[in-house]
Every structure is written in structure tokens, then in C-alpha cells.
């Protein structure tokens, strides 16, 4: 009878790892890809990425994927294709079964020929894979064909901040959909009540709920010079950190301070491969393992992380700068009118502008102690409450 111990209670844990959502941000900055075209053209990179996506979907039956293009002017969904009617569509894409019809209907007028070829050779291809590949290729073609020369000339960078926020919102939505509470109930509640109140509620109880979806973000980055978006990206990083969503970075070209910090802050993997030709092997070996598998693996180290920040006034990466004492904004040079650009507080810059701050010996203050005052420990200026008031 000793065998029956209450501590030996059999609690049914879920079989296998939880489904994993992988949000991929593909940097489609035309300038950077043009630069890379000799070693790794975009078409080849996309082909490799598609194999990687298929591998991810094959690794878990409920695994999902979302692909966002971070283009020069905007962040654009590649998969799932947003419904044309409402920009914030809640496409359910469990292995992409049901989005196929919608993709087909959307693309009917554009490229019917493409759609039929995708269907006819599907006997050689697993259907969910074919659906996703078709959607990504169609959307990417559409994105590239709508890019005009003026778009190209206006900027040389990419909208990584927008893409990160889009990915985070999608992940948040998917997490709600996957929570163990009946999804129909959740949907009804979200519709009926104020959505923000609902979100706040789910956020507060996140720790008590069983987590049923693990998410991560993979950024395939080719652009440098992202400091201009320091604030939005940093905000996205902190949001990801709070939601425990690792951001993995595969840096094919360029070098930014920012993305390395993103990995470091969120516990993701940073990799800047020396040979971009071997993209697929890098993806398969380092970025395919999900959170569960990563626990069992020795992960590639980030090396030295550059923690420098970009200033708020000129977006320059600075070693030493000036910080507003009220809102902690960073500036690369003293402000002209001594007013913070972010919060508008008037700052006294007199001491900061002296060439070398002089060390002034501190005077020992003699404190007058009022009679009857509680004795505070030496060295501590924190007021200590006299006594806890007790309720009768």
C-alpha cells in the first residue's frame, strides 16, 4: 500500500512538445540584395527559406508559420495573406489548410495560370507545403512588382521596426487563440467586451495559464544602418522580452548594433555567417530547433555584444552621450536651448558643459535630530515607517 503515495500522482502532461509558431521577417531591402546578388541572390535565399519553412512545419504537426517582408517603405505580409476586406484579419492557419481557398480567390484575377500549375503538380508535394509556398511566392512577386523607382531612391534602409511589431501582434493573437480556454468563448469575449480590457486580462493571467503555444521570431537581415529606427525597434525588443519571445537574427550582410542587442535581450541566437551560400545549413542547424529542443542543445554564442545606443536627436550610435534626467532620452550633443526634445523638461546643463567635471569634496553634514524622532540606522536616509498600523 505504500506504493500509493499522494505525491506520486499521475498528472497527464501533454504529449510531445507544444506547437510552435515561427514568425519570419524577411528583409527585402532591394539595395542590400543587389549588393549580395553575386554570392546569394534573393531567389536562392527564398528557395532556401521555403525548404526551411517546410522543415519547420514538418517538425511538429501543429506548427505554424508567419512570414513578413520588411521592405524599404513598408512591412508587408507574405503569409498568411491578409484578407482584403479587413487589414487585421484573424486567419486561422493550422498548417495552412484553410487559407488555400482564400489565397486562390484572392489571386484569381492576378495569376490564374500560376495557380493551376501549383495545383497540377501537387501530387509530388505535400499539400500544406504547396499552399504556403504558393502564397509566399505570389505575395513576394506582387510586393517586388509594386516597388517603384521613387521608393528605391528615397531610402536605403528597411522598416524592421514595423515588421517586428507586426510579428509581435500576430503572435499575441495566435497565443490567445491557442489558450486552453475554449477558443470560441475567447473570441466571443473579445468581440463582446472591450478588446483592450480582454488583452490586459489575458496578460495578467498568462503565468497561471498553461502555455500552449511557443513562439519565436527569426529575422533574416541584410540591411545595415538601422539606427534611424532605434526607438521603435527597442520598444519591440522590450515587448518581446516581456512576452518571452526569443528573437533570432541571421545576419547575411551589414552590421547593426541594434539586432545583436535584440538577441541578447530576448535570449535568441545571433549569427552572422561567413559564407552566405550555405544559408540552408545555417537555418537547419541553428535556427530550426524550437524552444523545447534548444533546452537540449548547446547554442551558438553571441560573442561580444555591442550595447551602444543610438541618440534620439540624430540617430547616431554613441559611446558617451547626454541623458535627460527626467525621461532618460539619449542625446549625442548638449541641447541648444537646454530643453529635452522628448519630454520638454527644462534641464540645467551648466555643470554638464564644463570640460572636466571637478571633484568637489563633500561636506559632512551634521544632522539635527528632533527629539522623539525614530532613530534611523547610520548611512541610511530612507525613511522607515514607524510602525505598521494594525486593524482592530
Amino acid at each position: 500500500m505504500n506504493a500509493i503515495d499522494a505525491t506520486d500522482r499521475h498528472i497527464k502532461t501533454s504529449d510531445g512538445p507544444p506547437p510552435s509558431l515561427l514568425a519570419i521577417i524577411l528583409d527585402t531591402n532591394p539595395h542590400a540584395w543587389a549588393h549580395l546578388s553575386s554570392t546569394l541572390p534573393l531567389s536562392k535565399a527564398v528557395a532556401n527559406l521555403l525548404v526551411f519553412i517546410n522543415a519547420h512545419l514538418a517538425s511538429g504537426n501543429a506548427n505554424e508559420v508567419a512570414v513578413i517582408a520588411s521592405h524599404s517603405q513598408r512591412a508587408q505580409w507574405l503569409y498568411p495573406t491578409p484578407k482584403p476586406s479587413s487589414p487585421r484579419s484573424t486567419t486561422t492557419t493550422s498548417n495552412g489548410h484553410d487559407s488555400s481557398s482564400q489565397n486562390r480567390s484572392r489571386n484569381r484575377d492576378m495569376d490564374m495560370a500560376n495557380g493551376t500549375t501549383a495545383l497540377s503538380d501537387s501530387a509530388n508535394k505535400y499539400r500544406p507545403f504547396a499552399t504556403i509556398e504558393h502564397a509566399i511566392q505570389t505575395n513576394l512577386t506582387a510586393l517586388l512588382s509594386t516597388t517603384t523607382a521613387t521608393d528605391l531612391s528615397s531610402t536605403t534602409t528597411t522598416l524592421i521596426g514595423g515588421a517586428l511589431s507586426t510579428a509581435l501582434t500576430y503572435i499575441a493573437k495566435s497565443t490567445i487563440r491557442h489558450s486552453p480556454v475554449d477558443p470560441t468563448l475567447t473570441a466571443a469575449a473579445a468581440d463582446a467586451t472591450n478588446p483592450s480590457a480582454h488583452l490586459a486580462d489575458s496578460d495578467g493571467t498568462a503565468s497561471t495559464q498553461r502555455v500552449s503555444l511557443t513562439s519565436r521570431i527569426l529575422v533574416l537581415s541584410v540591411s545595415g544602418d538601422l539606427a534611424s529606427q532605434y526607438i521603435p525597434v527597442m520598444n519591440a525588443i522590450f515587448a518581446a522580452q516581456r512576452q518571452r519571445i526569443p528573437i533570432d537574427i541571421l545576419k547575411l550582410a551589414g552590421d547593426t548594433v541594434l539586432l545583436q542587442q535584440a538577441c541578447d535581450a530576448t535570449g535568441g541566437i545571433y549569427m552572422a555567417p561567413a559564407a552566405p551560400q550555405g544559408l540552408l545549413q545555417y537555418l537547419m542547424m541553428a535556427f530550426l530547433p524550437d524552444a523545447v529542443a534548444r533546452r537540449a542543445l548547446v547554442l551558438p554564442g553571441a560573442g561580444d555584444v555591442d550595447f551602444r545606443a543610438a541618440c534620439f536627436c540624430h540617430r547616431r550610435v554613441v559611446d558617451v552621450g547626454f541623458v535627460c534626467s527626467v525621461c532618460l532620452s539619449i542625446f549625442c550633443e548638449p541641447l541648444t536651448d537646454a530643453t529635452c526634445l522628448t519630454c520638454g523638461s527644462h534641464l540645467s546643463l551648466a555643470t554638464a558643459q564644463t570640460a572636466a567635471p571637478a571633484l568637489i569634496p563633500r561636506k559632512k553634514k551634521k544632522r539635527k535630530r528632533a527629539p522623539g524622532e525614530a532613530v534611523t540606522p547610520a548611512g541610511s536616509n530612507t525613511p522607515v515607517p514607524g510602525g505598521t498600523p494594525t486593524h482592530a
Binding site: M1, A3, I4, A6, R9, H10, I11, K12, S14, D15, G16, P17, P18, P19, V51, N54, A55, A58, S59, G60, N61, A62, T92, S94, H97, D98, L119, D121, S122, A123, N124, K125, Y126, R127, F129, A130, E133, H178, P180, V181, D182, P183, T184, L185, Q209, R210, S212, L213, L280, Q281, M284, M285, L288, P289, V292, A293, R295, A296, L297, V298
Partner: protein, 469 residues
């Protein structure tokens, strides 16, 4: 990997290497085996090796995987080796390396890239069907067929008045199969056996696999090739629901199978001569595991709500009272196996778990853990928010009632003895522990008892061949 596919894995593991080799020629099979038979870490290892140019040195793999995940690594590698997906090769006198089987790797690469011209993912019909059926119809068809099989099994034992009338439309082939699989005993009318109970309390997905494995074992006797049958099943798992597929590319064995699967409700055909077939949800979820089903989109819930016992309908209180929101006769019959039902309303039955009812079920051959698993799996969404899902007192009491009846538990297995050195004993002990096959040990006498021997013997042979440095 889940309980439902583990029995399929057990079956696959005992097949000879030549059969595996033939199976892996189909990309759909390679993909299905990868998707649902491998442990999670094994998938990671396979994917890392898939596009590698050469073999993966053993030392590199060991360096890649953390030392504290050694047990998982050993288990993954054992499964991969027993399925003949990976093998050890000797690179040079000192260096051993893992290598993916060429056939498997090629097929998996084809599956991922969609290359080749193998048509293993089903050939959709080009011409539109005159009598096109929709998903709702397919779900209804699958549910009716599968439920009638379950009714047939549970009918006589359930004690329900209309129990005998149920399951009359089960085909003779299916009845025979249920008997061969020892799910029912037909000597004096149809009575359900212990295996049958186990079957009944499983999830739908696991039930389908159990029946199909019985089917597979009978296949050679019926002149069907095991490889054909298996690859057809794996192909079915990769089809899309609601799409009609052509029968033109199928072998004779597979055409013969279509008829039987039609009886089970796994595929739907208009008539026996029809050149097209529709896979039902039972087929398309064959290679998905329980996790996928549990998290599946809402349409799946609605579709098989009554057949797979919905998304939870049972509420149990700490006072052993049970409320089940169901009107399905099958679910009531199953509940009636281990509880005392008292009241029935249009959408609700209520009753109580009592000592007599649970012990009666145990006398039938149901195990306490099966009852607990069933209740957990079908707990109402409100209950699922609790952790643990069931009230602990109820779980303990069910188990205590079981222990009252049985004082001895038997485990069949193998006793390992006569170890030469303490180190040798310790080494094997650790390995057996990490595999989870160790049942009992005695350090003083250097004895240990394991319930499975295949992996242990493999390990010992490997060790003999490759002396420790």
C-alpha cells in the same frame, strides 16, 4: 510523438531493415515517419544532418547536445537506428560518425522541396465530380461509420436498452478484424474484452491506429504486401480533406484496401467501381498526433464533436459526482462502464463514481489509469483550467480502489545478471535507466530487470565492437 502513434512506432520498429528501405522510397512515407514517429530531438538531429555534406562525427554530435540531455539523446538515437534512418559508420580507425540512410534522406529532401515525379502525395482528380460531397458530409460519414464500430463493441456490455440494435451496419470484414484483434469475444454473443476496453478509452486517432495495426498484421495472410499497405496509409495521412483523389495510380493491394477503409469510414467512395475517393478526417489526421488534434482549429472540434467525445464534456467534483454534457449514446455507454449514472436530461447525464462501479470496471479489465486518462482527456473546458485537471482526491481514490483488488503486478521482461565488474553493472544500469526500461534492480547482487531488451542488446553489441577509450 504521442500515445496514439507510439503503437504504430512499436509496429514499425519491429519490421526488418529491408522493409524500411522499401518504405522510405516514397517521399510521403519518409515525411510521415519523420513527422509523427520520431522524438522531438531526433527530428532536430535529422534536420541538421539532412543537408550536411558528409557524415556527422559522433564527437561533434555529443558536443552539440548538452550533457544533461543525454537520456533524450540516447533515446533519439536508438529510435533512429531501430528505424534504420541513421547508422554509425567508421570514418577512420578512431573516428565514428552518424550517417543518414541514403534512401530516407533523398525521400525527405524530395518531400521538403517537392521535387521528383513520384506522385506519392495523392493524385487529385482533374475532372470535377458530378456528385461532389462536402466536408460536412465526409465528417458525418466518418463519424457514423466509426461510431457504429464502437457501438458494436460496447453495445451488449453497456446495459442500455437499445444497445443490441446499435452497430448492425458494421461490415463482416470489420467484425472479423475486431475478433482477430481480440477486441471482442463472439463466442456467446458479442462481449467486449480487456483489450477492447483499452481500445474504447483511447482517443479516436489511437483507435484508428490500433485497428489498422491489426489490419496490417493480417495483410500478409490476405496476399497483400505490408509495404504497400503502410505506404498507402502514410499517403492517406498527407491528403487534403474535401479533395477527391484518383485511384489510377494505386496498386492492386491498395485498391483492395480502399474497400476495407471505406467500411471503417477512413475513406469515402461513391460506389465500388468509382475511380475517385475522398479521404475523411480520420484519414487526414492519421499522421497528426494528439497535440495537433487538441489544438486543432475550431472546425475540427465541431466536425467530430460527438464522435471523438467533443472537446471535453465531463465535470467531476471532489465529492465524486459526475456531470457529463452529452446526448451521445456512445459516450453514455462508455461512462456507464465505470460510473453509476442516475439521471439523464436532454443534454446532460449525471451520476457518481462509486466503489462498486469502479471495481466492476476493474473486474472487466479496465485499469484505473485508463479511467483517469479518459476523464482527463474529456474534461470540460472549465475543468481543464485546473491543474491537475481532475480533483486529486478522486484520482487517488480511483487508484486505491484498484489496488484493493490487486496486490501483485506482473511485468514480463528480462533479468540481467552475472556482471563481471561493478563498473560494467553501473554502466548498463545507467543506460537502462536513461531508456526508461529499468523495472527493478539489486545493487548488492548486481541484478537488474528490464522490460525491453532490444535496445539493451544493441548497446551491448556496440560496446563490444567499440571498446571504450
Amino acid at each position: 510523438m504521442s500515445a496514439s502513434t507510439s503503437q504504430a512506432l512499436d509496429y514499425l520498429e519491429q519490421l526488418p531493415g529491408a522493409t524500411h528501405k522499401k518504405l522510405y522510397q516514397q517521399p510521403s512515407t519518409a515525411l510521415a515517419v519523420f513527422r509523427c514517429m520520431l522524438p522531438h530531438l531526433a527530428k532536430t538531429i535529422v534536420m541538421a544532418m539532412l543537408y550536411m555534406t558528409g557524415p556527422f562525427p559522433v564527437s561533434d554530435l555529443d558536443a552539440w547536445i548538452r550533457p544533461d540531455a543525454k537520456a533524450e539523446r540516447d533515446q533519439s538515437i536508438t529510435v533512429l537506428e531501430s528505424l534504420h534512418i541513421m547508422s554509425t559508420v567508421q570514418e577512420s580507425p578512431k573516428v565514428f560518425a552518424y550517417k543518414l540512410s541514403t534512401g530516407f534522406a533523398n525521400s525527405l529532401r524530395q518531400a521538403l522541396t517537392g521535387g521528383g515525379n513520384h506522385k506519392s502525395f495523392g493524385v487529385p482528380c482533374n475532372a470535377p465530380d458530378k456528385h461532389k460531397v462536402d466536408v460536412a458530409f465526409l465528417d458525418k460519414y466518418a463519424r457514423e461509420q466509426w461510431e457504429s464500430i464502437l457501438y458494436y463493441m460496447v453495445g451488449s456490455t453497456s446495459g442500455l436498452r437499445d444497445g443490441q440494435a446499435l452497430g448492425q451496419n458494421v461490415g463482416n470484414g470489420t467484425k472479423k478484424l475486431l475478433e482477430l484483434g481480440n477486441f471482442v469475444n463472439v463466442r456467446h454473443g458479442v462481449t467486449i474484452t480487456k483489450t477492447g476496453f483499452t481500445f474504447l478509452l483511447q482517443e479516436v486517432n489511437a483507435q484508428v491506429w490500433s485497428l489498422l495495426i491489426v489490419y496490417l498484421k493480417q495483410a500478409p495472410g490476405l496476399g497483400m504486401s505490408e509495404v504497400d499497405v503502410l505506404s498507402f496509409l502514410f499517403m492517406l495521412g498527407s491528403l487534403e480533406l474535401g479533395q477527391d483523389y484518383s485511384t489510377t495510380n494505386l496498386t492492386d493491394t491498395q485498391l483492395q484496401m480502399l474497400e476495407d477503409l471505406n467500411d471503417f469510414g477512413i475513406v469515402y467512395r461513391q460506389s465500388k467501381e468509382s475511380t475517385r475517393f475522398y479521404p475523411t478526417r480520420l484519414a487526414t489526421t492519421l499522421t497528426s498526433d494528439a497535440g495537433a488534434l487538441q489544438n486543432a482549429s475550431t472546425d475540427f472540434d465541431n466536425a467530430l464533436r460527438s464522435s471523438r467525445a467533443g472537446k471535453g464534456y465531463i465535470i467531476i467534483e471532489t465529492n465524486y459526482r459526475l456531470y457529463a454534457y452529452t446526448s451521445s449514446l456512445l459516450q453514455i455507454a462508455v461512462l456507464n462502464l465505470f460510473s453509476r449514472l442516475t439521471t439523464r436530461f436532454p443534454n446532460l447525464v449525471s451520476g457518481k463514481l462509486t466503489k462498486e462501479s469502479v471495481q466492476r470496471a476493474i473486474a472487466y479489465g479496465i485499469e484505473a489509469s485508463q479511467i483517469i486518462d479518459y476523464l482527463t482527456a474529456h474534461a470540460h473546458p472549465q475543468m481543464q483550467k485546473n491543474n491537475p485537471v481532475l480533483p486529486p482526491t478522486v484520482m487517488d481514490q480511483i487508484r486505491l480502489w484498484e489496488y484493493e483488488g490487486e496486490r501483485i503486478r506482473t511485468t514480463t521482461g528480462y533479468l540481467m545478471k552475472d556482471f563481471n565488474t561493478e563498473a560494467e553493472y553501473k554502466d548498463l544500469l545507467d543506460y537502462a535507466k536513461s531508456l526508461g526500461v529499468l523495472t527493478w534492480k539489486n545493487d548488492a547482487k548486481r541484478l537488474l530487470f528490464v522490460d525491453r531488451i532490444e535496445q539493451i542488446s544493441q548497446y551491448l553489441t556496440n560496446k563490444k565492437r567499440r571498446p571504450e577509450p
